[in-house]
Amino acid sequence: MLTRLSLMAALALGTATTALAQDATPKDGGTFVFTAPYGNSITSLDITATPHTQDEIVGKALNRSLYKWNPDSGKPELDLAESVEKSADGKTYTYKLRDATFHNGDKLDADDVVWSYNRLADPKKALPGAEQMLQIEGVAEFQDGKADHISGVKKIDDKTVAITVINLADPGWNLMSNYAPIYSKDYPEDQLASKPNGLGPFKLANYVPGSKVELVKFDDYYEQGKPHLAKLDIMLMGEAAARDVAFRNGEIDANVLGPVQYEAYTQDAALKDHILEVAEVYTRNIGFNPKIEAFKDKRVRQAINYAINSDLIIQKLLKNKAYPAVSWLPTSSPAFDKDAKPYAYDPDKAKALLKEAGYETGLKFSVTATDNESWGLPIVEAIIPMLAKVGVEVTTDPVDGSVLSDKILSDNFDSYIWSNSSGPDPLKYLNCFHSGTSQTACNYVKFANADFDKLLDAAGNETDPAKQNDLLRQANNLLQEEAPVWFFNYNKAVMAYQPWVHGLKPNAMELAIQDYEDIWIDDTAPAGRK
């Protein structure tokens, strides 16, 4: 209960901070110096060619999609479409497009939407953004080479487009993706990676590969009076220590914090009042491979959940920069059961379960892990003595990031520790545990449970949102009971910002992805920023 209360308080704090920041009247002009903290480079200025968050931080400034994520409501909402009508069968959505202009002066029309979605799904182009198109009717045939275009995307007139989907889920969850923007059909495709041409609030001014991306306000952006900033500089800074110095020195205006910095910043009188926190939709977990005989037994998986003191690890190693996980869905999910409790730390119960399962004399397995400080080797090293107390011997299998995914996708592991998306769409992310989902898609632990499948299938076919939500809540609770993974924590993303910065939002999908058009800086900013 205490944990939940602190979580709610923290969420409220994040929201309140934002609300306070937005109370004042926004001021136009000035430069916001942001950081892309997940490396020292970006892959491409064409966001459709990459699945990386680092690129999305830049792409969000340049592009717009049919829908957008609303961090306040926690739902997708229309962006490039000003209205939508749903057909009686709930599968065809007819969108009226708004008046919007591309950076090169082209006007948005229905052909752009048709062209963009066909390009994304085109198997020959092999674009990672194709993932967001899979719900549209005809994409499977197009990708299999049985059709030369997507049948489910049709131009009705210049400003109207109809999209037919294959199930009853709201397509907004997929089409809001920043990886599925609308591009101009008339713009040379081979220039998208170097001279992007989007519908976003900022256009490219200068790109220094490996260093920074400089963007300037796009005067013809469709939202009246936005963006407020005249300039947006995104610094590519992978080193946390360097970001810390730059932030304290006022060279950057916002800084994504790791656990150690989080502790230091919250104890620093000069910094602690300008920290934004949010429970992100990532679930850190140890996935158990059922090819290990012991992991086929639910009692063993439950025993491991009982044997680890997650709260202690979160407190000591993560410096409270995480929330204990209850099940798979994060706390911000509408299907999260507010009455559910995490597995309690109970070594005796763990021992009893292991004895019942026939592993009284012990059990041994390895955990494949990267060196990530929040969900990698340091965490595995912390659980080793805890599991040893109940007779479970754990060894480590250290790897780097691309080897971790390689080992998981090729089923070459006993268990792994990872941080995986678990939202915002509960149906999509619970589907990762449906027996029909392959290991290479996202059912990494090859979970198969007939009752779980039944609940998810029913949720997928349910048109009443309340009933669907109830089915998903039941499925999530069943998943907790089945414990296909050790439910470790949900990430608490933390961003420190300078006092002159306003309009940052606690985006649960990814805190580093901000609505730049709403950000503004006040008169207290240093001269070079105003």
Partner: protein, 311 residues
């Protein structure tokens, strides 16, 4: 001279081929691939069909020998291939990183030479003095300082505390932005140069021709300038050549710390996502830089000391 340069240029080819082979072998045995790196964030699942098409497009489904042959064939036509990550020609990915890398290497070596050589000289002229001992302490410390730690220290002192310099970033044409990364990168070669210079000067000072010159009454400043310095220069040049050649590859940590857009940070980023064509291209550039610098040093020997003949 021209024959020498031509011969050395031709000698580079087998070295480059060996480097290519080594990289191919290493990346064929280490686990992980570009395709699986797309899933490494655990955030965005990527459609299996997309992954399969990417595999096909980049020829990753072909046997290693076929891929190696295709790469060599491309190289023979001055084509470094296509980056898996950016889907651009590799040269387009490397080219913007080249000048920042060269600039950083030259600046670091400039700092190393300006500080290290005089220190070594002065220490050798007063062997056993406090100055000599102090200089050698600085030199040993310089050699043992971790670049990351020293770079951070510079940031804290000169950016955060004194506010004299920016703590990170790259601005074409800005001297202020290059000072801290150049010092962080140059401190190790500076220490090496100081030690080498000191040893070289001490050695020459004890040579017969110096003793003879001194016995003939030659003034000490002139002795040092005309006899000692000229003879030590070859040693200093050799050390500088080896160091400057290696600096481009050694700059990885400094480049990442200071967000400096050089070849080193590109190499690390490319290795982590297994963008093998860019890794090969970047390594080839670093090796080529090393070989060319050392060839130029050999040429410089002949210009400094007429007794040395190249070729």
């Amino acid at each position: 001279m021209m024959r020498f340069i031509l011969r050395r240029t031709l000698q580079m080819i087998p070295t480059m081929l060996a480097v290519i082979l080594i990289i191919f072998v290493i990346f064929s045995v280490v686990p992980g691939s570009f395709i699986t790196s797309l899933m490494a964030e655990g955030r965005n699942a990527t459609n299996a069909q997309v992954l399969s098409h990417l595999n096909e497009q980049f020829g990753l489904d072909q046997p290693l020998l076929v891929r190696l042959w295709n790469y060599l064939w491309g190289l023979a036509h001055f084509d470094l291939g296509i980056s898996y990550r950016t889907r651009e020609p590799v040269w387009n990915v490397i080219e913007p990183r080249l000048w920042p890398s060269i600039k950083l290497a030259l600046s670091a070596m400039g700092f190393a030479a300006v500080v290290g050589i005089p220190l070594g000289f002065l220490a050798a002229l007063k062997p056993g003095s406090i100055f000599d001992s102090g200089t050698m302490v600085v030199a040993v410390s310089g050699l043992s300082l971790p670049e990351f730690w020293f770079g951070l220290l510079l940031m804290y002192v000169f950016a955060l505390t004194l506010g004299w310099l920016p703590s990170f970033g790259y601005q074409p044409g800005s001297i202020r932005h290059i000072i801290l990364p150049a010092i962080a990168l140059g401190v190790s070669p500076m220490a090496l140069l100081a030690r080498t210079t000191r040893a070289g000067v001490l050695d020459v000072m004890n040579a017969d021709f110096v003793r003879t010159a001194r016995a003939k009454g030659l003034a000490e400043p002139r002795l040092v300038r005309s006899h000692v310095a000229r003879n030590v220069l070859v040693l200093i040049l050799t050390t500088m050549g080896l160091q400057i050649g290696a600096l481009m590859g050694q700059a990885i940590v400094v480049e990442k710390l200071f967000s400096w857009p050089g070849i080193g940070s590109l190499l690390v980023d490319s290795v982590s996502v297994r963008d093998i064509p860019v890794v090969q291209g970047a390594v080839l550039v670093i090796v080529l830089w090393f070989l060319v610098i050392n060839m130029l040093v050999d040429v410089a020997y002949a210009l400094i000391d007429p007794r040395i003949k190249v070729g």
